[in-house]
């Protein structure tokens, strides 16, 4: 087939037109091989521009299109739409970014023009080697699996359930509620933890679109976004299988075990307890020493395990304040000292909470290192060489990944990151999604969080899933995927190690690797890593890159 390439330069108002000499750019690309027409236009993304471009494609019978305009991030989808309008495969279009990469950053008009010529030539040379790609659609299941019945999992399940969407909530413990339900009080409003969880447990049980499976573990999750197959098992019984379209991981976190650090004497010195143990005492109604008396003085020690873990657990400072608040309430005469390294009290309400706590007579002592020792019914706190003596010590241990996080990471293919927590797709702009499409994270499974942040994440996760997985609607798969040539593949399996989407499988019988086109997101890792050139990205083939680079560097 003879190629007919149409080249269009957008003036982008004055943005491009003033910064470079468009006529010279047009002149430079006009004579190039296969170029049929070169034109300029005021604003190609305007309704008039789009209509003009679609008509041009039909009028000249163009086979390929080059648009010199803004960043593809802004308008690639727009111009791909125009191609469809003009009955041209949208993947036969290439943009040259004349605005962000040239006009806006090159003050010298002469230089800008030269650069624009290079970029336009590169796009023209590249587009010749574009092949039409096909956009595929697949059926999907809109049901959702939520792993973990804590505050995050429950909140997500409640938001996700609807008459046409079933939610499976799987909790390994026999009771729902998680860590929050075990807190007597929560900061900053000092509400009961169970108040929040109980109402949710009740709504869950009443919701006929939610199937709550307690005492059950998820044994396996296979498949991909829109089509996962889940296997769960309730203790000794037979495994149960069902299909879902998305997975919410809300498996929470654990607390660091202070007995690993000798300086705190936890488990050895009497009346040294952890925050959850104190919560339990409080929940039962009595905060007492081992001899049954009420403590007259309490030391609260922050940052237990922070150095070992290598991160701040974010909530412990506020937990320490909360504890001192209810200690004061229950035992007004008690004297409380908090030993901290750095105070971390973020949030609009937290500062006021801190000040209020201080006003109740709680002491805050900044110290580098703390060492505890027992002495007849008392505990000596050596802080930077100074000694305090108290009746009781409360440790605030760091939050660490739950024990089964590794298993979940392996089962779902979601990487573990800093501190061993599961990693989100992007720290800032993808905080609840993961590199495995359809698997979202909510709550402390991705790191220490307040209840409020955990619930916000659940709501974000619900939003993501509700908007992308609509009952009855098909899913569009990525067209610009990778392919592995069977005749070139040596079966070295390098690609398997770099694929973030578990989209490549090794075919034992043929001795080659194969890309699952539904799972592939077209990141190109395999194409870059393949030592024998068998894996190629369909829109970044070696030929295309080579032509483009040659012109840019010329």
């Amino acid at each position: 087939m003879d190629r007919k390439i149409g080249v269009y330069v957008c003036e982008c108002g004055p943005n491009i037109a003033d910064a470079l000499d468009i006529d010279r750019v047009i002149e430079a690309v006009s004579g190039l091989e296969n170029v049929a027409v070169v034109e300029r236009y005021k604003l190609l993304c305007s309704p008039g521009g789009k209509k003009y471009l679609a008509e041009q494609i039909k009028e000249h019978g163009l086979t390929h299109l080059v648009v010199g305009a803004c960043s593809p991030k802004q308008h690639e989808a727009t111009f791909m739409g125009v191609c469809e309008e003009g009955r041209m495969n949208p993947f036969l279009m290439q943009m040259a970014n004349l605005r962000e990469q040239i006009a806006w950053i090159t003050p010298d008009k002469e230089k800008a023009t030269e650069r624009a010529i290079r970029h336009m030539k590169a796009a023209v040379r590249r587009v010749r080697y574009h092949a039409p790609l096909e956009q595929k659609e697949i059926e999907c299941n809109a049901d959702v699996l939520v792993i973990g019945g804590g505050i995050a999992g429950m909140s997500a399940a409640l938001l996700l359930s609807s008459p046409d969407r079933k939610v499976f909530l799987v909790e390994k413990n026999t009771e729902l509620g998680g860590m929050v339900s075990r807190c007597e009080k929560l900061f900053p409003d000092m509400a009961r933890g169970s108040e929040i969880t109980e109402s949710r447990v009740k709504s869950l049980k009443e919701d006929e679109n939610i199937e709550v499976l307690t005492g059950t573990v998820v044994e396996n999750v296979l498949g991909f976004f829109g089509n996962f197959v889940v296997t769960v098992r309730e203790k000794e019984s037979e495994p149960q299988e069902f299909k879902v379209g998305a997975v919410v991981v809300a498996t929470g976190a654990d607390l660091f075990d202070p007995s690993a650090l000798a300086e705190y004497g936890y488990g050895k010195i009497k009346n040294v307890v952890t925050a959850p143990e104190l919560e339990e005492m409080n929940l039962k109604g009595n905060i007492t020493l081992e001899n049954g008396n009420e403590p007259k003085s309490v030391g609260i020690i922050h940052c237990v395990g922070r150095k070992e873990k290598g991160y701040c657990s974010e909530v412990c400072c506020r937990v320490g304040m909360k504890i001192s608040r209810y200690l004061k309430e229950k035992i007004p005469a008690v004297s409380i000292t908090q030993f901290y390294q750095d105070l971390c009290v973020p949030g609009s309400g937290a500062q006021a909470f801190y000040e209020k706590t201080r006003n109740t007579g709680v002491e805050f002592v900044c110290t580098e290192a703390v060492k505890l020792s027992g002495s007849v019914e008392k505990i000596k706190i050596d802080h930077d060489g100074k000694i305090d003596t108290v009746d009781m010590v409360v440790l605030l241990p760091a939050i660490e990944p739950a024990k089964d996080t590794s298993e979940i990471s392996e089962m779902l293919g979601v990487e573990k990151g800093k501190g061993g927590f599961l990693t989100e797709e992007h720290e800032k702009i993808g905080p609840v999604t993961t590199t495995v499409e359809g698997v979202c994270l909510a709550g402390t499974v991705s790191g220490p969080k307040t209840v409020r942040d955990a619930v916000s994440q659940s709501e974000a996760v619900a939003g993501k899933i509700l908007s992308s997985l609509v009952p009855g609607r098909k899913l569009e798969t990525e067209a610009r995927t990778s392919k592995i040539s069977e005749s070139l593949c040596t079966g070295c399996r390098t690609c398997l190690t770099v694929c973030c989407y578990s989209a490549i499988e090794y075919d034992e019988s043929r001795g080659v690797c194969v890309v699952n086109e539904v799972l592939c997101k077209g990141c190109g890792n395999c194409a870059a890593a393949c030592p024998s050139g068998a894996a190629t990205h369909q829109q970044f083939t070696p030929t295309q890159i080579y032509r483009e680079v040659i012109e840019i560097l010329r």
């Binding site: 070139l488 030592p531 024998s532 070696p542």
Partner: protein, 360 residues
């Protein structure tokens, strides 16, 4: 200090090792052995359990027409072997290990016996005058530093090393390099131990000499390929026979990238290019082929010299590749074929490498 198990070698290295292999076959320690044997003037690797055939074994053949790494690739790429022993030179074992990292060999059931290597004679010289065998060596053999199992480059996957350098005439020292190696020696009843100090001294001395010679020789080669012009000049007599590629044990692709039409353009495009530049060399793919191959294999190159031996127009391609290989391997502190547990640098990453990129 290392110790070896001493055996008699009054009839030479080959006979001594052949004897060892014979009894290990008789005792059913291995199902077969992979060794080079002599047929008239030629040498071939054979896989055999025939004890009589081992009389023809030539453990250190004077020439290397096929690289042992490639032999093991052919034997195990489509599924592993049953228990066999392979007698090879260090560069062959190292190539086999590099290939295992790319799933091209499966060495699980391969028991490696290495021997101190003096180097091999270039094929063309040997064919012209067979009497130069053992006198004339491949240029890369003359500056080879991993001819034995001493120093940092020693391959960790060798099971038994047969030491000959610095060992009394009529004797050979078998040095167990793995627990497998120890148990085989035990099963064979070879238990007379002897201090290997002399061998260590001798090999370390040679390695020191070779290291210095290597640096000197490669520096000289580096001068000849300086800049683009140097490279163009050196490779301009390349006839594109691709012999270097087909004999290279590390070049394992089923279809070479350079055989594809990636670099070919239309007549019009070539003209566009010639006009834009004023002139265009026809064709410039030759250099791209060599540079491409260099970038593909340089981290795994074991400096065996096969490529140079196979070049019909005497391009010192092995020495050129070694210059580049040495430097790229140094960047990653990587010794190809040293250990099968060590991942190839480009197949793995360290977290600080990512920071380094981000910070720049």
């Amino acid at each position: 200090m290392k110790e070896g198990h001493v055996i008699k070698a009054t009839e030479g290295t080959s006979k001594a090792i052949a004897g060892l292999l014979k009894s290990s076959l008789e005792k059913k320690i291995f199902e077969a052995v992979l060794v080079p044997i002599r047929t008239n003037k030629e040498y071939n690797y054979v896989l055999t359990d025939n004890i009589d055939l081992l009389n023809k074994a030539e453990i250190m053949p004077p020439v290397m027409s096929v690289q042992g790494g490639k032999v093991l690739q052919a034997l195990t790429r489509h599924g592993k072997s049953r228990k066999i022993a392979a007698v090879m030179r260090m560069c062959e074992i190292r190539a086999a290990i590099e290939l295992s990292k790319l799933e091209q060999t499966d060495l699980e059931n391969v028991f490696f016996i290495s021997v101190d290597c003096n180097g091999v004679t270039p094929l063309s010289d040997y064919l012209e005058d067979p009497s130069c065998a053992g006198k004339k060596f491949r240029p890369l053999c003359e500056i080879c530093t991993s001819f034995s199992v001493v120093g940092d480059e020693q391959a960790q996957d060798v099971d038994i090393h047969a030491a000959t350098m610095g060992v009394d005439k009529g004797q050979m020292l078998l040095i167990p390099m793995s627990t497998d190696g120890e148990s085989v020696l035990e099963k064979l009843g070879i238990d007379k131990k002897q201090d290997a100090g002399n061998w260590v001294k001798q090999t370390e001395k040679l390695q020191k000499q070779r290291t210095a010679a290597r640096e000197k020789a490669l520096t000289k080669t580096k001068e000849t390929i300086k800049g683009l012009n140097g490279l163009v000049e050196v490779f301009s007599r390349c006839i594109e026979c691709y012999n270097c590629r087909s004999v290279c044990p590390i070049c394992y692709c089923r279809l070479c990238f350079s055989d594809k039409e990636t670099f070919r353009e239309t007549g019009g495009e070539y003209l566009d290019r010639a006009q834009a530049q004023g002139v265009m060399k026809c064709m410039d793919e030759v250099l791209q082929f060599h540079l491409g191959r260099m970038s593909h294999i340089s981290l795994s190159c074991v400096s065996c010299g096969m490529c140079e031996d196979a070049c019909p127009v005497d391009i010192p391609v092995g020495q050129i590749f070694s210059v580049v290989a040495e430097r790229s391997q140094a960047i990653f502190n990587y010794v190809p074929g040293k250990s099968s547990d060590e991942a190839q640098p480009l197949r793995t990453f360290e977290l600080d490498e990512l920071t380094e990129v981000e910070d720049k």
